[in-house]
Symmetry: C2
Subunit: 154 residues, 2 copies
């Protein structure tokens, strides 16, 4: 059963983020619609030009979801900024092509911007990129970055 958009009210950026990646995993475009902000929407898919505006972004996701084979996301939070009505999460998306144990995993880096609207938190911007660093190297070094305590404004 597909989700009912009107049933969703996300009380935090974390809730929207979880719903966003669930929508990917379930191929649920209606949940994607519920997740997405009403204004200021933009999306850069890996290696692509920006798509600006809610309609274009939803169209691109509909195409992507139609061609995905039950991906499994492990989302690793690397750093984040939180303010009253806006939150920015820098995450590493470890994406397996399916539920098989030996499924190929790819790494996508994403800056996700969440905003609080009158009807709750939503995803406003999603900028992704691929790293040219080899996957084996990444796994050995666990992203080779320093994790840092979250930054809170105010």
């Amino acid at each position: 059963m597909k989700s009912n958009q009107t049933a969703f009210y996300f009380t935090s950026a974390d809730e929207v983020e979880a719903a966003f990646y669930s929508a990917f995993e379930m191929g649920d475009i209606q949940l994607m619609e519920a997740v997405l902000a009403e204004q200021g929407v933009s999306c850069i898919h890996p290696g692509s030009l920006p798509i600006i505006g809610r309609e274009g972004v939803l169209d691109s996701w509909a195409q992507i979801l139609a061609n995905l084979d039950e991906p499994v996301f492990r989302v690793e939070r690397l750093s984040h900024t939180v303010a009253d009505d806006i939150a920015i999460h820098l995450v590493a998306e470890h994406i397996a092509a399916g539920h098989q144990l030996d499924a190929e995993t790819s790494l996508v880096l994403a800056t996700n911007v969440y905003v609080r609207q009158k009807n709750g938190w939503r995803l406003q911007r999603h900028h992704t990129s691929l790293s040219s660093v080899l996957r084996d190297e990444i796994e050995e070094n666990d992203l080779a970055i320093t994790h840092q305590a979250p930054n809170t404004l105010q």
Copy 2:
């Protein structure tokens, strides 16, 4: 003459952004230091893994500036979000390798996050990516995206 960090107080995200790209053009690492926020700093260079933390980001910029040959930036604002203490700019960086008229131009897409600290606005996060779309195609279509009125929270 290099810039004196203590002399800088940026009154808006736009001012920081102008200073950030000027620092690139002038190879001025001290201005880069002045531009960068104190906390929550992260940077993803094109095709690279994230660098998290002010020190690591400054080190990476010092290396980049040492190897740049007077680049010229034309920064095209595509979309932005503004709140009281935080601003997000989605920009296209059209970078020419030098001042020659026939200089090769590359396109980098960037999500820049600016925050207001007690001592003014600073750049906190810089996530960049390259598009695999051919440069000629981009020039023909002028990025092939729809420009949108800025989004203002509150």
